[in-house]
């Protein structure tokens, strides 16, 4: 599904290398987790994959189902089936949450040559999906993420994921700023979307999210590289011993 080979990335403005050769394969139907200390390059990876400005890819490749992602505009990547749940969802004053989602859903359909969703169908679907995530009508009406609590913002990200039905989902520190109940709700939302055709890349600093979203593969990232890969037990190891042991072991 998602294939990253020898990816090297620098910041455009400063001469600073962030990713120094990342190799990663996420298969359809699988959940991969990336863990690592702060500043290891986890969030950069998610931004580079989704096409944010300010990063320069100096080497390597990233493809989604064989299509080169790095050459595409952000919206083309989204239409190709890539979805990033933001660590800090952006507040957009004046744009209603519903308008936002409907514009996005139809833009992607149009890009894929599909029919636009009718207003009635859209309403029906969003209401049902919002209900599962305990998102009330008021949240749907308000401007995108404006005045949302941390938990509401993350739930809103999952709602977008549910509506857009992407092939490959990247969750960037979706657990940050969430209490236990909110995390459960978010995890349930994600788990409901797990299926054979869909890949997940869950980026997290802590193991606790992985109690709820059980990964198939766990990678440890440090200083711009994936330094260790293993099964779910690797996450537990980090939980008990921190990153220091693993870093020492690899070094």
């Amino acid at each position: 599904m998602l294939s990253i080979k020898n990816l090297h990335v620098e910041l455009e403005d400063e001469d600073k290398k962030i990713l120094k050769g990342v190799d990663l394969e996420v298969e359809a139907g699988k959940v991969h987790a990336i863990m690592g200390p702060n500043g290891s390059g986890k969030s950069t990876l998610s931004y580079v994959l989704s096409g944010k400005d300010g990063y320069e890819v100096t080497d390597g490749s990233a493809t989604l189902e064989g299509n080169d992602l790095l050459d595409l505009e952000p919206e083309e990547r989204a239409a190709a089936g890539l979805f990033l749940a933001f660590q800090y969802p952006v507040e957009i004053p004046g744009v209603g949450n519903m308008t936002f989602l409907r514009t996005a859903v139809n833009a992607q359909r149009k890009a894929r040559g599909e029919e636009e969703m009718s207003a009635a169908d859209f309403l029906k679907e969003i209401r049902a999906k919002a209900k599962d995530l305990k998102i009330d009508a008021d949240m749907l009406k308000r401007p995108v993420n404006m005045g949302f609590s941390g938990g509401e913002k993350k739930r809103n990200e999952i709602l977008q994921m549910a509506m857009l039905e992407p092939k490959m989902c990247i969750l960037d520190e979706t657990d940050s700023g969430l209490d236990v109940d909110a995390m459960k709700l978010v995890a349930e939302g994600v788990n409901a979307l797990r299926n054979e055709g869909r890949g997940f890349l869950v980026i997290t600093h802590y193991q606790r999210l992985l109690d709820h979203i059980k990964p198939d593969v766990v990678h440890i990232m440090s200083d711009g590289r994936i330094i260790k890969t293993g099964g779910p037990e690797l996450a537990l190891e980090v939980e008990h011993n921190g990153y220091a042991d693993i870093l020492a072991e690899v070094a």
Partner: protein, 426 residues
């Protein structure tokens, strides 16, 4: 001084091209206004409130010709049941207008309202004259002296539908001057709509007297002819517990100067003025607002949004003056510009002048490019760059449109803005 002499010459040159309608109840007010024009002289670049806007095309004797723009869209406010009063190049068009009768309101034309004891006599030029201090507005006085026509609307009740002044532009060299008077009796409520390019050059004055507990809604869509020029003046006096809501949308136009002078003279009155403008290329748009609080517990809001590209210029000069004793004033003002490219400019002077202590007044002004974070967020959800830009631009403008009370009118304006934006980027 040489400058004063030049100004005098320019003023006299302008006056010599105009002829004052003779006779009738408005005559003394017109003569008085002409004296004011001569005393003030026409605006000059060095005047404090003309720093950001070159007055010359508005003050030169002959107007700059303006091509007529055939946009092919359905007429503005077409879907709204309204009473239409049409002026073409400043001349009343009886055939295109509806019958000037509506329950709860008495409508006459300035050019034909001849009775000597006309109710409008006490208002004609009065609010304009009051509004000359402390900031002179010579073009408004010029209008009072020479306006050829206009409507006199006396609102005694609550008319069932809005009155729509429609300004058509037919001659490329027309120079039109209209003067309207609106008087709302206590408890009355009406909505006035204005739209159309009007003329190559258009000068309007509207004097609105809102009595206690009356409510006046004003929604204006300025004409989209690219080369038209306009200087508009809205003078409003508000009584106790009365309300004014005025909104203007401007798309295109080579030169627009919208002056808005509001005086809150009765306690608990409320004035909301707002504007949304979209300029592309040869576009200069200036909102100059002066709100005076002269009573207790009044509220005023100014919400102005400008979207500029390809060298367009947006100007905002807004002032809240709170007079001594105008306690419990709540004054708010926001002016924001969205610059879509590097050539456009935003010039602003948001002012507060406050002589009472128990007040809460604030203003904010921002200028900048489109929010990159929001743009990326939208694109990451699959929305194209152009569509995302439109969506954010519309959202930016919508905050000003929200100031319109009627949902129908809000939707009409939003719908127009959205289709204009779409067409531009498409």
């Amino acid at each position: 001084m040489a400058e004063a002499k030049l100004q005098e010459t320019a003023t006299e040159a302008m006056i010599s091209t105009l002829s004052m309608p003779q006779g009738g109840w408005a005559q003394p007010a017109r003569e008085d206004a002409l004296a004011r024009v001569r005393a003030m002289g026409l605006p000059q670049r060095r005047d404090e409130y003309w720093k950001f806007t070159r007055p010359d095309t508005l003050t030169q004797a002959e107007p700059v010709p303006a091509a007529i723009f055939e946009h092919g869209d359905a007429p503005m406010f077409d879907g709204i049941d309204r009473l239409r009063i049409v002026f073409a190049d400043g001349e009343f068009d009886a055939d295109a207008s509806d019958d000037l009768s509506l329950e709860g309101v008495k409508i006459e034309r300035l050019a034909t309202a001849m009775s000597d004891l006309h109710w409008a006599r006490d208002l004609y030029g009065t609010l304009e004259k009051n509004g000359q201090n402390p900031v002179p507005r010579p073009l408004a006085a010029l209008n009072t002296a020479f306006a050829t026509d206009g409507v006199l609307i006396h609102v005694t009740g609550r008319p069932s539908k809005p009155i729509n002044l429609i300004y058509k532009h037919k001659s490329e060299t027309s120079d039109a001057m209209l003067h309207h008077i609106v008087k709302l009796d206590a408890g009355a409520e009406m909505t006035l709509l204005e739209n159309g390019p009007a003329a190559a050059r258009f000068n309007t004055v509207m004097e609105v007297d809102v009595a206690d507990t009356a409510r006046f809604h004003h929604v204006r869509a300025q004409g989209r002819d690219h080369e038209r020029r306009a200087a508009t003046h809205l003078f409003t006096r508000l009584g106790t517990e009365s309300l004014l809501k005025s909104f203007t949308v401007t798309v295109n136009g080579a030169m627009t100067r919208n002056e808005c002078v509001i005086e809150l003279t009765g306690d608990d009155a409320s004035a909301h003025v707002a504007g949304a403008s979209v300029g592309d290329g040869d576009f200069h748009h200036d909102d100059t607002v002066f709100i005076t609080h002269d009573a207790v517990n009044c509220e005023s809001r100014q919400v102005y949004k400008k979207v500029l590209r390809n060298g367009a210029t947006g100007v905002f000069q807004g002032k809240i003056l709170v007079k001594e004793g105008a306690q419990k004033t709540d004054g708010y003002q926001i002016s924001q510009s969205l610059l879509l490219d590097g050539d456009s400019q935003f010039l602003a002077k948001p002012e507060l002048e406050i002589y009472a202590d128990d007040v809460a007044c604030s203003h904010g002004s921002t200028s900048g490019a489109i929010d990159e974070e929001a743009l990326f967020y939208l694109r990451a959800r699959g929305v194209s760059h152009a569509e995302a830009t439109d969506l954010l631009t519309l959202a930016f403008l919508a905050e000003a449109v929200e100031e319109i009370e009627s949902e129908n009118l809000r939707e009409e304006i939003i719908g127009r803005l959205s289709s204009w934006l779409e067409r531009r980027s498409g």
